[in-house]
């Protein structure tokens, strides 16, 4: 998981700008830097956290802590393997099944909520999810009206089921499309 003092909205935009990031990007936003402070990596004079890496094992113990600028990903991966092999067996994780069926996302222009769901679609790499912009297509608007009985967007239709309200859609996507 990644952490910075940026807000969740900025994390969503940043993740999407990088082509989609599905692991949790945590917002150590309010109180500012509180989590980083607990881990001893907050830099008061800049109002940001150091570029630091901490590994916590499944027992809750810190197994690694460093702040050496650019990360050596190979060394980190090897260290992760070592910690995993030394630790006792852990339960097999749930592998998320993904969306249960075909999905279509209805969005409209000039809509922050629509943008938020579009970013989640990118972050979760849901390329198979069709996108229909009702502001730009009368046909899409009619389809939305027929399916949901209203003209509000964003609306997500999954396997025939209509989901409205961006917060609910975001939670649904995160819960079904990532395995935490």
């Amino acid at each position: 998981m990644s952490i910075s003092v940026d807000s969740t909205a900025v994390h969503a935009a940043f993740g999407a700008s990088l082509g989609g990031i599905s692991y949790p990007m945590l917002a150590d936003f309010h109180p500012k830097g509180a989590m980083a402070t607990d881990y001893g990596v907050y830099q008061e004079q800049y109002g940001t956290t150091e570029r630091a890496t901490v590994i916590v094992d499944a027992s809750g113990l810190v197994q690694h802590a460093s702040a050496t600028g650019k990360r050596d990903m190979e060394a980190l991966a090897a260290l992760c393997k070592e910690i995993d092999s030394k630790h006792g067996e852990l339960p097999q994780g749930d592998t998320s099944a993904g969306l249960p069926g075909a999905s279509t996302l209805f969005v409209r222009d000039h809509c922050g909520a629509s943008t938020a769901v579009l970013r989640a679609r990118t972050n979760l790499h849901l390329d198979a999810m069709a996108v229909k912009n009702v502001s730009q297509s009368e046909e899409s608007m009619k389809e939305l009206r027929d399916l949901s009985g209203a003209e509000t967007a964003p609306v997500l239709v999954v396997d025939g089921e209509v989901k409205a309200e961006s917060i609910k859609i975001l939670r649904y996507l995160a819960d079904t499309c990532t395995a935490l």
Partner: protein, 44 residues
């Protein structure tokens, strides 16, 4: 910086999908890799 062998402090922060994520939810289930960095959209 926090020391190896100590108990990691719990946290409860929101992620880019609006979920609340805590350290304790992974206890007994997964090891956790925490990547701290200064700011989005910058090379800081």
């Amino acid at each position: 910086m926090i020391e190896i062998g100590t108990e990691a402090p719990d946290f409860n922060l929101r992620d880019q999908f609006g979920r609340k994520i805590s350290l304790s939810q992974f206890r007994g289930k997964k090891h956790v890799l925490l990547l701290f960095y200064p700011l989005d959209f910058t090379a800081t």
